[in-house]
Chain length 254, copies 2
C-alpha cells in the first residue's frame, strides 16, 4: 500500500480535477465515494484503478480483500477530506475507469429517455428507479446531467453497474426505435395528452421524461407514438420529475 500525505502529490492533484466532466473524459476515470458505492463497484466487476483509504477505515475493516490488480493508497485525513464529496468522509473512495466499450441498445426491456434533465439528484434517482422497475436502459439525451457527477452517483446508489446507461441524440434513438416498431411515450403536463392510466402495460417501449421547468422538447413530443400525462387532482402545479418518472415506469411496464 502506498501512503500519500502531501496534497501536492501529482496523483492527488489529478484526482482532484475529476469533479469536472472534461477531466473525467480526458483522464478516462471517475471517483466513487463511500463504502456502499465502492462495494457496488467491486461486486460489479467494473475496472477499478485504485482504492483510497483513511487510516481509521483500514483499522476498522481489517478483513478487506482487494484483488492484486488494484492499487491501494493510504491517505491522510486532510487529503481524504479534500477529495471526498461529503463533509464527513467515510474514509474509502475508488478511482474507477470510465467504461470504453460501446454498449449496444437493448430493446427487449423498456428504455427510460431523459431529455435535458438538469438536476443531478433527479437524474440519479430516475436511474435507480429504472433499475428497480426492471428497465434495461437509461438513455441520456442532450443537456442531461453527467452520470459520473458526484451527486448523480450518490442518488443513483450504484444502479449504473446494473443497467445500461447510454448517452446520445434522442431523435436518432427515436428513428431506431421506430424502425423496430417500439412505441415511444412522451410526457406532458397537458391534459390534452392521454392519461397514463389508459395505456396498457407493455414489455417493450421507451418513456421520455423532460426538463424540470420546460418538460420534453417540442420536436421530440411531435414525433412520439403518444404523449401521456399524469392527472393532477389537487392544487399542486406539477410533480417532481423523478416522482412522475416513478409513477409512469411502474404503471407502464408489464
Amino acid at each position: 500500500m502506498n501512503e500519500i500525505t502531501s496534497s501536492q502529490n501529482n496523483y492527488i492533484k489529478s484526482l482532484k480535477k475529476l469533479t469536472k466532466k472534461k477531466e473525467r473524459t480526458s483522464q478516462g476515470r471517475y471517483l466513487l465515494d463511500g463504502e456502499h458505492l465502492v462495494g457496488e463497484a467491486l461486486k460489479s466487476g467494473t475496472e477499478i484503478e485504485a482504492i483510497l483509504y483513511s487510516r481509521e477505515f483500514l483499522e476498522n475493516h481489517s478483513n478487506l480483500s482487494i484483488s492484486d490488480n488494484v492499487e491501494t493508497y493510504l491517505l491522510s485525513n486532510e487529503i481524504m477530506k479534500q477529495l471526498s464529496f461529503v463533509p464527513a468522509p467515510q474514509g474509502i473512495m475508488a478511482v474507477v475507469k470510465l467504461p470504453t466499450n460501446k454498449v449496444e441498445l437493448k430493446t427487449n426491456q423498456p428504455i427510460l429517455v431523459l431529455d435535458n434533465v438538469q438536476d443531478p439528484g433527479n437524474v440519479g434517482t430516475m436511474i435507480r428507479t429504472a433499475d428497480a422497475a426492471g428497465f434495461g436502459t437509461v438513455f441520456l439525451g442532450e443537456g442531461t446531467a453527467d452520470i459520473y457527477n458526484d451527486k448523480v452517483l450518490r442518488s443513483m446508489q450504484g444502479s449504473h453497474f446494473h443497467i445500461d446507461v447510454i448517452e446520445g441524440t434522442i431523435l436518432e434513438l427515436m428513428s431506431t426505435l421506430s424502425e423496430k416498431n417500439i412505441p415511444v411515450y412522451g410526457t406532458e403536463l397537458n391534459p390534452q395528452a392521454v392519461c397514463y392510466r389508459e395505456i396498457k402495460p407493455m414489455e417493450q417501449f421507451a418513456l421520455v421524461m423532460g426538463n424540470e421547468g420546460q418538460g420534453v422538447g417540442a420536436e421530440i413530443l411531435a414525433q412520439t407514438t403518444k404523449n401521456v400525462y399524469i392527472p393532477i387532482v389537487g392544487e399542486a402545479e406539477s410533480l417532481n420529475v423523478a416522482v412522475a418518472a416513478g409513477v409512469l415506469m411502474f404503471a407502464l411496464k408489464a
Copy 2:
C-alpha cells in the same frame, strides 16, 4: 416601506434565528424565500407579517400590490443574502405567521403518514406529491423533518397552503382511524407483504411511509390493516422513499 441597511437591526437579528425550529415555534413565524413561494402564500390567504425586498426586485416589479396590513421592508443586498436560503437570492422573502388554529383531521380523502422521514427534500416532495394526487392530509409522525425547514419548503413548492399538514403521534392517529373503519396501509421492503398491485384503489385510507434507512417502525407495521410492498425487479436494493410514495399514492387512490 421601511428600509434596513444594518445587519445589527433587531428585527433582522430575530429573523436570522428562524432557521431553527425552536425559534420558529417561540417567535410564531417562519421565512419563505423566492417569488413562487411568496406568491403562493399571498394567494392562499395565510397571515403574512412582512414582505422583504431587495432594491433590484422592486425596480423590476413596479406593479406589486400588497395589502396595507402587511409591513414591507427594503433590505440591502447584503442583508438579503444573509437571510436567504439560496446562494443567489431572488430578492423577495416573506415573514409568515405559523398557523395557530388546530386542524381537524379530514377522513374523506386519503391521508399520507410519514414515520421518521428525515430528509427534508423527501418530506417536501412527498407533500407536493400528496397534493397532486388528491390526498387531503399529510400527517407528520415522530422524527419527521419540520415543514417550515427551508429545504422542505423549497421542495414542497407551496403545497402546505393547499392541503392539511398535521403533526402528531402515529399510533394515536391509527386508533382514531380504526374507530372510523378507515384502512391503514404500511409499507415494507419485504416481499412477504402484499404487492401494492393487489390492492383495489380506494377513496378513504391512510398510507404510511417510513424512514429512509429503517422503513416504517415495527410497532406501527404490527397494527396496520395491511402492509404493502413495491416489487423490485432489477438489482436496485430499494426505491427512494419519495418515489415509492408517489407510485403508491397514484396507484391506491381511486
